[in-house]
């Protein structure tokens, strides 16, 4: 069995065991009513099972990582697929560490799905090991990317605890204006999380049914007096609603009668393969809306108020403290990885330590935001709800820096992707 196969099995095992771990934690929290045992004993027992399962999952995740590293000859953090699986690994790591500090099974209930979502999200990108271009041949690839990802993983846990705090404390029965605003905010956050799941799910589904559509994009290059035309093939995994700017349809499988794209992507979208990405976003929003409405029909209430009762026995002060402490721990690591190591590498590879490249700028924006969070918390006493909202917004910025920048903006960090 080749190393890359071993690596694949490792990741699959990680995914499966994180899922099992999620159920372990779920039973720990929800099953105590149905168990004949003493509730406290039941909770401890199943939390231990849940934790052990996520440790096994993490071990599988490490197998994936090490085997791929040995196979490829370089640390597997060099493209979007590898980065996202690694980000998931650091989230799992941060969770395992924090669980030992706080022993909260609820944290497991929310963190394991986050690690799974990241793996699922990674799966939409090309999986093969790519050789390193000259720009990435540096030890700083390893140092910069791993520390940045670890810092972001702590922010991710801060986000999870923040969302839990909101779900726990917001009054879902109230019709008061301020409460309704909070309810809508939480609902929107949950919808965004749903969108990520749906996105990964739909790409996975269409991929496994072998759906394909292809476009050719012609670009006219003028160099001095010579004109040349370069052709670029663009493959779609999802049925085309939007076609890339300045391109022609080559072939397209029919999906529910949709054979031809309905309109063209605007010219101002700068990112690599902007047309395809816009197409993916439209499908994601469409599918998510359908699934959301179905969920609402089944539950007969908002997602937030449906989740709210699960958090009954949790101390919100603990959640507030977890959220704050993860961010306090993540902030220095993020600074080191995403800014300082990034500057050192940029100074070495590009000759300037800072160039206001969109990715750099967004890392700085994220950093400024968490700096503001810490100041508001430490000096202006923003605890509880306000603090929880900030941790949610902060993580949205992290995700925008990781994903949105590549999607919408151009720059030195843009990789190809779905």
């Amino acid at each position: 069995m080749s190393l890359i196969t071993v690596s694949g099995y490792g990741l699959l095992a990680a995914f499966i065991f994180y899922t099992l771990s999620f159920f372990g934690f779920f039973i720990a929290l929800a099953g105590s009513k149905f168990s004949k045992r003493d509730p406290k004993e039941h909770k401890q027992r199943w939390a231990k099972i849940g934790y052990s399962l996520s440790v096994v999952g993490f071990a599988g995740h490490l197998v994936y990582f090490v085997a791929r590293w040995v196979y490829g000859g370089h640390i597997p953090v060099s493209n979007m697929y590898e980065y996202m699986t690694f980000f998931s690994l650091t989230i799992a790591f941060a969770f395992l560490v924090f669980y030992l500090l706080f022993r909260s099974p609820l944290l497991g209930l929310f963190c394991t799905p986050l690690a799974m979502i990241m793996i699922a999200y990674a799966a939409v990108f090309p999986k093969d090991v790519q050789p390193l271009i000259p720009g990435l041949q540096s030890k700083w690839l390893m140092i910069h990317v791993t520390t940045a990802a670890l810092g972001e993983a702590f922010f991710a846990i801060g986000f999870v605890a923040g969302v839990m705090y909101l779900l726990k404390t917001i009054n879902f029965q109230s019709k008061q204006k301020s409460d309704v605003r909070q309810q809508r905010g939480v609902e929107f956050t949950l919808f965004v999380i749903l969108m990520v799941v749906v996105f990964a799910g739909s790409v996975f589904t269409f991929n496994s049914f072998g759906y394909q559509a292809q476009f050719v994009k012609k670009t006219v290059n003028v160099v001095g007096s010579e004109t040349s035309v370069s052709e670029e093939k663009i493959n779609y995994v999802l049925p085309p609603i939007v076609k890339p700017y300045q391109s022609e349809l080559v072939k397209s499988d029919s999906f529910l009668g949709l054979k031809k794209p309905l309109f063209t992507a605007p010219a101002w979208m700068e990112g690599v393969n902007a047309g395809r990405k816009l197409n993916t976003i439209i499908w994601t929003i469409l599918f998510s809306a359908i699934i959301y409405l179905l969920l609402r029909l089944v539950l007969r209430r908002s997602l937030g108020s449906a989740i709210h009762p699960i958090l009954k026995d949790i101390d919100e002060q603990d959640l507030d403290e977890i959220s704050y402490r993860t961010i306090a721990i993540g902030f220095p690591i993020f600074t080191l990885g995403a800014l300082i190591f990034a500057m050192i590498w940029a100074a070495q590879a590009w000759g300037r330590f800072w160039g206001w490249d969109p990715k750099e700028t967004w890392a700085l924006i994220t950093w400024l935001f968490y700096a503001a969070y810490l100041h508001l918390r430490l000096s202006r006493g923003w605890h509880g709800l306000k603090s929880a909202w900030l941790s949610v917004i902060g993580f949205l910025l992290v995700m925008f820096t990781l994903v949105g920048v590549n999607l919408l903006l151009s720059g030195l960090h843009s990789y190809a992707g779905v």
């Binding site: 790519q130 271009i133 603990d318 220095p332 600074t335 300082i340 935001f369 430490l378």
Partner: protein, 562 residues
């Protein structure tokens, strides 16, 4: 109105003090409140809290506010975001931004340009925002650090009962002092805390334990780091501190680096690409060409004499050599050279030729003819060639006279006066085209007439032809501020780790007539503080749940009996 800021414990506080610097008694609120105390900066008066501020004080007060600091941070955040909507001007080469943004992005692009957002990060408003953040960092820090230092260095052991009762961690109990006398009880409690590396002081039945006070200085240390960082950025505009130029380096040519005393030669440029089977499957399918190496073998020379003399060749001395790759720049005494780009530019540099006696079919000594800087005369065996004229880019004007179209050796032609055996005494004119194709186009043999049957100038093989295949584009930089940038970053990291990874924990305790009152404070990680207190109490025979220490809302304190 003059505030009476003297506390009942006798300590004279500064105006604006919230909690007495000595005993901690709340000074401003009504006495009966049970609310948890606001403990930031330990309730000391900040420098900016003056009775009658003048203009300078008002400026100081503005910058000393954390609220203002947060607004500054968020403004920078929002403006930075705007700057990423469209690429900034400096990401393009050779554009006229006034036209470019409208052409490419339409009216929104034009608006972007008109608003100055296409140069966001160099704009006066962005830079002044950074300067204001710098001022805020300085003022905020000075405003708080000195009073805080004063307060923390003269803490009284016995705190006011109100101060203790209104902490977030509180415990009251009437210990059984019959088994263990009060003094012994305190001693054991102190010993227990010392085991957890608390510094413990006690007097007259009161005790104070403290650890990791240094973490309180973390924010000020990291602010110092940030200030150094910001100053380093400003220092880049000092003349000579910052240079950023792009030059072309054709293979084999020594190129002067303007503004420095250095010359750089690109000995050889290499571009390598991965084999198809080394690429990932989707890359193979797309037909990607992926580079594996860009490398310029560079030699750096320093000019030792005749540097600015246009009449003489500068005298160069080799000082450094380095294979410049993307992640491995040349670095010599602050001068950096980075691999940026390359182009395939086949260009003749020189030829190693010899004179051939065609009648005897004899080839004489080799000599090198440089295409950019030919010598006045050459010697090959018995023959002497005097250079009469050189046309690097040969052509004929309307009258048929030879001219050169450019200084690039595209069609190099030499006019020599040849002297030697079998040639007339005054010498004979020989026209030499270097490239075979030019020899035919311009009919060299016909031009040379009968001389063409007697002698020739030629290279023995292709190895004698020196061709520069590539031009390497290097970025030449000087960045004197870098060490300060790194020092600033390092100090920032030290400060932020100090402040975030350690917590200042304090536990106060007093015993009044057999009743014990304990209060504890930390700036974060209450969980561990409660654990410390629980563990210390356990050591003197008081077993409690952690939750019992939590002073929720300040109203749940009951007297415990043990």
């Amino acid at each position: 109105m003059i505030d009476n800021t003297k506390c009942e414990c006798g300590h004279q506080n500064h105006v604006g003090t919230v909690l007495c610097e000595s005993c901690g008694k709340p000074l401003v609120e009504e006495v009966d409140s049970n609310e948890i105390l606001e403990m930031r900066y330990d309730g000391v008066a900040r420098r900016s809290q003056r009775a009658n501020p003048n203009i300078l004080d008002r400026v100081w007060n503005f910058f000393s506010s954390v609220k203002v600091a947060v607004y500054l941070i968020l403004s920078t955040l929002v403006l930075s975001t705007l700057g990423t909507i469209y690429p900034q001007e400096n990401t393009f080469f050779d554009i006229d931004p006034a036209v470019f943004y409208e052409q490419r992005y339409g009216w929104t692009g034009e608006l972007y340009y008109v608003l100055g957002l296409s140069r966001t990060y160099e704009s006066w408003w962005f830079v002044s925002l950074l300067v204001m953040i710098g001022m805020s960092l300085v003022v905020c820090s000075i405003d708080r650090v000195l009073p805080l230092y004063r307060a923390l260095s003269k803490q009284k052991i016995a705190k006011h009962p109100q101060f203790l009762r209104r902490q977030r961690v509180v415990y009251q109990v009437e210990p059984d002092f019959s088994e263990r006398p009060q003094a012994q009880w305190l001693e054991q409690f102190a010993a227990r805390l010392k085991k957890r590396r608390y510094k413990v002081r006690s007097e007259n039945g009161a005790l104070m334990a403290e650890k990791n006070r240094f973490s309180r200085w973390g924010p000020y240390v990291n602010h110092i780091g940030l200030i150094i960082f910001l100053i380093a950025i400003l220092m880049r505009s000092i003349p000579g501190w910052h240079m950023d130029e792009h030059y072309q380096f054709p293979e084999g040519e020594v190129v002067a680096l303007p503004g420095t005393n250095y010359y750089l030669k690109n000995e050889k440029f290499t571009a390598e690409f991965y084999d198809k089977q080394e690429l990932a499957e989707h890359q193979q399918l797309r037909g990607d060409v992926v580079a594996s190496l860009y490398e310029t073998k560079a030699i750096l020379y320093e000019c030792t004499a005749d540097c600015n003399n246009p009449l003489k060749e500068p005298q160069l001395e080799k000082v450094h050599e380095h294979d410049i790759r993307v992640n491995s720049p040349l670095d010599y005494d602050g001068l950096m050279a980075y691999q940026v780009h390359y182009e395939l530019t086949p260009k003749l540099l020189g030829v190693n030729v010899s004179v051939v006696d065609k009648q005897q079919n004899k080839r004489f000594d080799k000599f090198r003819v440089d295409m950019s800087n030919p010598a006045d005369s050459y010697q090959s065996g018995p023959y002497t060639l005097e250079l009469k004229n050189y046309y690097p880019d040969f052509a004929q004007d309307v009258n048929g006279r030879p001219i050169t179209k450019s200084s690039q050796p595209n069609t190099p032609a030499f006019i020599f006066l040849a002297k030697g055996p079998g040639l007339s005494a005054g010498g004979e004119i020989f026209i030499y085209f270097v490239k075979d194709i030019d020899k035919q186009t311009f009919r060299q043999d016909e031009l040379n007439g009968t001389l063409a049957y007697r002698i020739d100038i030629s290279a023995a093989s292709m190895e004698d032809v020196e061709i520069s295949m590539y031009t390497s584009y290097l970025n030449i930089r000087v960045e004197q501020a870098m060490p300060f940038i790194w020092v600033g970053s390092f100090i920032f990291m030290v400060g932020v780790v100090m402040g975030m990874y350690w917590q200042h924990r304090r536990i106060w305790l007093r015993i009044d007539e057999g009743r014990l009152l304990l209060g504890a404070h930390t700036n974060k990680n209450w969980y561990s503080l409660r654990k410390d207190v629980q563990w210390a109490l356990d050591g003197v025979g008081i077993e409690i749940e952690q939750e019992a220490l939590d002073n929720k809302g300040g109203n749940s304190i009951e007297l415990n009996h043990s």
